[in-house]
C-alpha cells in the first residue's frame, strides 16, 4: 500500500440483487486501473464470489446487514477488500474443490475460484466484528508500462 493509492469505498445492502452492482463497480475500477480483459474478468469473478460469500454465508442473507467493499489501486496491483457482519471462517479449512473426492460436489468452489483468479487471498477478523477477505491482483506490468510511456 502506498500514499498515492487510489481508493474506492462502497457499502451495499446485503441482498443478492446487489451482486451485479458489485460486479459493475469492479468493472469500472478495473477499467480505471488499466486491467486487460482477462484481469477484468478474473477480478470481477473474485468480487462476485466474495460478495455472495459475504451475503449468503457471512450475513446469512439478512437484508438488514451490509457488505463493505474497498478497491485500492496501487502501482501494478489492485487490492480488493470485502467485509461482512458474520463470524468468520478459517480459509485454510475450506476443502480442496478439485480433490478427487470433491470434484462432483455441488458447492464449495467459490474460494477455489478466488484463489485461482487472484494472486493473494487472506481472511481477517476486524476488531469491530465481521469477516474481511483481502484479495490482491498483480496487474499486467507490460500494459501499464506501455500506457505510462504513451
Amino acid at each position: 500500500m502506498g500514499a498515492e493509492d487510489r481508493v474506492v469505498d462502497v457499502m451495499l445492502e446485503s441482498n443478492l440483487k446487489n451482486v451485479e452492482i458489485a460486479e459493475e463497480i469492479s468493472q469500472r475500477v478495473c477499467a480505471g486501473a488499466g486491467c486487460d480483459p482477462d484481469e477484468e474478468f478474473q477480478v470481477g469473478m473474485a468480487v462476485h464470489e466474495s460478495v455472495i460469500n459475504a451475503i449468503w454465508h457471512g450475513n446469512k442473507n439478512d437484508p438488514a446487514k451490509h457488505v463493505w467493499m474497498q478497491f485500492r489501486i496501487g502501482a501494478g496491483r489492485l487490492e480488493v477488500r470485502v467485509r461482512d457482519e458474520g463470524y468468520g471462517f478459517d480459509v485454510g479449512k475450506v476443502p480442496d474443490a478439485i480433490a478427487d473426492d470433491n470434484v462432483l460436489n455441488i458447492s464449495g468452489r467459490g474460494i477455489f475460484l478466488i484463489r485461482q483468479f487472484m494472486d493473494e487471498l487472506r481472511v481477517r477478523l476486524p476488531q469491530g466484528g465481521g469477516t474481511e477477505m483481502i484479495m490482491v491482483k498483480r496487474l499486467n506490468s507490460k500494459r501499464q508500462t506501455n500506457e505510462e510511456g504513451s
Binding site: 451482486v19 474478468f41 464470489e49 455472495i52 478439485i98 460436489n105 455441488i106 458447492s107 467459490g110
Partner: protein, 119 residues
C-alpha cells in the same frame, strides 16, 4: 440479465437453449426446476446448449454438476453443447471438463445419444 431457457425436442433428445447468467439465486433455481420438470416427463436425454450463457459462477457450476448426477442417477444422459471460452476455462480449472460429455456440433451431439443408447 437473468437466465432464460427454451426446450426443443430433436429426435429423442431435449435440447435446452440457455441464455443469460447461471448464478446463485434465480438462474440456478430455474435450471434445477427445468431439469426436474423434464425428468418428470421422462425426458432423460438432455443436451444443454450453453452458447449464449454470458456468465456462470461457482453456484452455476454446482448446478450443472447437480443436473448431471441427477440425470445420470435416473438412467439418463446430460451433455453440454457449445461452451463459451470462459465456461470452457472454468470447467477446465475445476477439473469438470472431463466429467461432462462436451460437443461443439449439435448434430453430432444428438447422434452421440443414439450411439450410446444403442451401444
Amino acid at each position: 440479465m437473468s437466465m432464460k431457457a427454451v426446450v426443443r425436442q430433436v429426435d429423442s433428445v431435449s435440447v435446452v437453449d440457455i441464455t443469460g447468467r447461471i448464478t446463485l439465486g434465480e438462474g440456478c433455481a430455474q435450471l434445477r426446476e427445468l431439469i426436474r420438470d423434464l425428468l418428470g416427463k421422462s425426458k432423460k436425454n438432455l443436451l444443454l446448449n450453453l452458447a449464449n450463457v454470458t456468465y456462470i459462477d461457482s453456484s452455476g457450476i454446482g448446478e450443472l454438476v447437480s443436473a448431471f448426477t441427477t440425470v445420470s442417477n435416473q438412467g439418463g444422459q446430460l451433455k453440454l453443447l457449445s461452451l463459451t471460452k470462459k465456461v470452457h476455462d472454468l470447467l477446465q480449472i475445476t477439473k469438470l471438463y472431463t466429467v461432462f460429455d462436451i460437443h461443439d456440433d449439435e448434430a453430432k451431439a444428438i447422434s452421440s445419444f443414439t450411439q450410446t443408447a444403442s451401444a
